[in-house]
Amino acid sequence: MTVIARRLAGHLARGIVMVLVVATISFFIIRNIPGDPIAARYQKLIEGGASPEAAERATAVMYGFLPKGTLWQQYLDYMSGLFHFDLGISVTNPGTPVTEVLAGAAKWTVLPVLFGTLLSFLVGVILGVYAAVKRTGKLGDVLAVSGSLLHGVPQYVLALLMGAIFTTLLPILPSDGTADILYEPGFNAGYIGSLVEHATLPVVTYALASYGGWILAMKSSVVTVLGDDFILAAELRGMKRSVIFRYIARNAILPLFTILALSLGLLFGGSIFIERIFNYPGLGFLLIDSITNRDYALMGGAFLLITVAIVVANILADLFYSVIDPRVRSTEEVS
């Protein structure tokens, strides 16, 4: 068995235990959240003008989808379902399995947030190197200040600002939604154009919101690497600036990979503020909705998805680290 395979097996075993522990803890926390989802739905309908009988009818059916039995029995059912990838039935989407609801929302979160994260990572890392190398010049100052500013502005402020600029002052982008329903879904220019058009604001806002963190982290990492002996040696040996630049970037980026992997794991948590402001119905949206409606199965499913994603991302980060950093690999081989 290779070193990597042994590491992978160890990580998987620990990961599975961690997922089960988190599933157990979240199950009991969720079930102990106070509040009556059915009474709330009834009153909401009444306030919205529904007749008492219509409200009763609309809520009566929800009872059938509430978990049954004692808390212990519910826990056993939940864990047994988990081993069959059955997360139960959503109360707010009665009849629809939680896995289906999560899968439906996931695509509207994962792609835009993934794209936004990678975009901000690439831009942040490249500009972070420039900001560090040119830290005594004007360009370095401008980049550092832009990073600090964007890092300090809350996501929802940026989203509101972007919305105000591009949907009201300069209305070139849609303010909400995922795609115009008038376009037939499929591989056609109209539909794809509509998808891109609707995703632009959420993606760019997400990228802007996380760009500051990357540029500052990369700048700090590069500044540390710049003081290392191997850079001084390279300069003394008269190496080209582009080669030295590559040395710096490759060494400085290593710590950022761990943060990137964790960020990718958190993809499944969605971006609640951005999704809410742009009415982009992804996982963050779904999570808030499930808490408001006390949809235990959906809440549990969403938390589990986030947990699994983070555990998997950690494992991948660890494995990836040993691939990209020869020092880690050689240490393992020696041990």
Binding site: I46, R57, I172, G177, T178, V196, T200
Partner: protein, 605 residues
């Protein structure tokens, strides 16, 4: 640099695509033909693309009045629960004693696949209704207003008979307010022996219990049923759904298709009121049903080109309800004193200027039907107009003491009146903040406590944790529905199979904790829960004197202070469509799809 250039190019591509496809959206927006009608379903936030086109599924992509049809559409009448507009049924005969309803279907009714709508569709739909907790089609033994028999008279006629052992005035409403599904698509959802099972469920004993369980279990299967394609007898059929929008297209086979103007209907997704406000401010919606909005938002909505509101009767009021198990709220003089200190006009102006009118008194009935039910007796009720002197008299009668300008309890200990409201209910919170400041001026220390959300609020309210909280009441038009909010389960009375029972305060959901009997001036001792129970089977004439007694009981005993009566405000936009209903029209609370069925809503020329 190459990477940076690639990123810049990608962003440029996104913007360019946005610019191109933006035009396409606007072009499609004209819809062609009768136009594209854009709306939201105010009773159902959140579109779910994976949900089936199933009217029984709360998240189903069946939109009431558009591609989901009922036998008839309930009119928004002040007092009569049995007035309807035609739907799948063209007409109906209600027996004078309410013992039966004979339904005559639309002679030209067709499903979107061209098959005729028949009595068999109605019978199957009634069978399905039994699995869904319907009022007329209930399997609970002894339920009020339940059907005893369903008979197919001919292809276009169905007769439904009421079980007269526990009749209800709302029987016809329970029957006609039923969804109709196509039997040729849905027949697999009910087993062949369903009607035998239903018969067995009406008996007593273990077999009957088992039959009831089986029927209830069918309900879950029906909710999950996904027809391969939307088959609608309504004016529209579902074309497709994504998480942010749903598209419906005109059903050429609809019996009144010639009178339906729009070619397409687009439903927009929302999860909270803020999104609806944004749609309305942007002029995106042709119609939206009642949505609460603060004054500043309402002003911006009205500024949108073509924006208009249509107002009408909404049979809902809101009141500040007391927990009488807690001192000093068990003392009617304390409740009356508080009522005299609250200026309801001011509260309504602050909290719900567009969506409500200040209650003229506490009668338990919305002001408009109150005039119909109570006549001259309405003016005889104590109006509890803002009067500090009267409040002082009441507080003194309750034994409260005033020290240094502040009211204290009878034993001299400090008194703080605590009001609760759920977070996010901006109108309720504004109202309570206003009440708090009014009470503070009069020397009553008060506080507003916000509960995390509505489910928690209701649970804690029912558990008797609050001194006072807001409570919806006056849910007309049926008299029983009006008073069961005041003298029903929340105040200790339950109605099981027509038999009224009373639970002690703090037990069986009794959080209001009022007395079982109330001494009403000029009437004597009354049991309001039993009187309310009688309303279920009373005719309008029989109900009137009972309503007067209950109004007096509510007015004298004040289990709550009625604050404002809701107004049904519908938002419409005249930029693209005209022909909207008039203010106060009895179709106002029905979906705009029903307005279209009835020949309203035309494309602007």
């Amino acid at each position: 640099m190459k990477r940076l250039a690639a990123v810049v190019a990608l962003l440029g591509l996104a913007t360019a695509t946005a610019a191109c496809s933006g035009g396409a959206t606007n072009k499609s927006g004209s819809g062609g033909g009768g136009g594209l009608f854009t709306t939201i379903d105010v009773n159902r936030p959140g579109l779910e693309p994976s949900a089936p086109a199933n009217p029984y599924n709360p998240k189903g992509n069946s939109f009431l009045g558009y591609n989901a049809m009922k036998l008839a559409w309930v009119k928004n009448d002040l007092t009569d629960p049995n007035k309807f507009y035609p739907g799948i049924a063209a007409s109906w005969d209600i027996a004078p004693d309410n013992s039966s309803v004979t339904i005559h279907l639309q002679p030209n009714g067709k499903w979107s696949d061209g098959k005729p709508v028949t009595a068999e569709d109605v019978k199957l739909s009634i069978g399905i209704a039994y699995t869904q907790g319907s009022t007329a089609f209930a399997i609970t033994p002894g339920a009020a207003g339940a059907a005893a028999d369903v008979q197919v008279v001919d292809d276009h006629t169905v007769k439904v008979t009421q079980d007269m052992t526990n009749p209800s005035m709302k029987f016809a409403r329970g029957v006609l307010d039923t969804f109709v599904a196509p039997a040729h698509v849905w027949n697999s959802v009910l087993p062949a022996d369903f009607w035998d099972k239903l018969k067995a469920s009406r008996a007593t004993g273990a077999d009957a219990e088992k039959a009831r369980e089986e029927i209830t279990a069918l309900g879950e299967k029906i909710i999950a049923f996904a027809p391969p394609k939307d088959t609608s007898a309504g004016p529209f059929t579902l074309e497709r759904v994504n998480p942010s929008e749903a598209l419906l297209v005109k059903n050429k086979n609809f019996f009144n298709a010639a009178n339906v103007a729009p070619d397409q209907v687009k439903f927009l997704n929302y999860t909270g009121n803020e999104q609806i406000w944004n749609y309305l401010i942007g002029g995106k919606l042709d119609h939206a049903g009642f949505t609460a909005a603060p004054t500043n938002v309402m002003d911006r909505i009205k500024q949108a080109p073509g924006a208009q509101t249509i107002k009408g009767f909404s049979p809902v009021s809101v009141g500040l309800a007391f927990n009488q198990s807690k001192k000093p709220y068990d003392n009617v003089h304390v409740r009356k004193g508080l009522a005299y200190l609250i200026d309801r006009d001011q509260v309504t102006k602050v909290a719900s200027p567009e969506g409500g009118t200040a209650a003229v008194t506490t009668s338990g009935i919305h002001q408009k039907p109150a005039q119909e039910w109570l006549g001259a007796e309405l003016s005889a009720l104590e109006p509890y107009k803002h009067d500090v002197a009267k409040a002082e008299t009441e507080f003194k009668a309750a034994g409260l003491q005033k020290k240094d300008g502040k009211w204290a309890l009878a034993d001299g200990s400090p008194w703080k009146f605590s009001m609760h409201a759920p977070a996010g209910f901006s109108d309720w919170i504004s109202a309570q903040e206003n009440i708090k400041s009014q009470l503070a001026t009069a020397g009553v220390d008060a506080e507003v406590v916000t509960t995390a959300d509505y489910p928690l609020y209701l649970e804690e309210l029912a558990a008797g944790k609050y001194d006072a909280g807001f409570w919806l009441l006056a849910l007309g038009p049926a008299p029983y529905d009006i008073y069961q909010r005041l003298f029903g389960a929340s105040n200790g009375w339950t109605n099981v199979a027509g038999k009224i029972a009373h639970a002690a305060p703090g037990k069986g959901g009794n959080w209001m904790g009022g007395p079982e009997e109330i001494d009403v001036a000029g009437v004597g001792k009354v049991n309001p829960g039993e009187l309310t129970g009688k309303l279920n089977a009373s005719t309008a004439e029989q109900a009137k004197p009972i309503m007067v007694e209950l109004a007096k009981a509510a007015n004298e005993n004040l289990p709550l202070i009625q604050l404002w009566d809701y107004v049904n405000t519908q938002f419409v936009n005249t930029s693209r469509f005209t022909g909207w209903p008039e203010a106060e029209a009895d179709v106002l609370r029905l979906p705009a799809g029903v307005w279209m069925q009835l020949g309203m809503v035309k494309k602007k020329q």
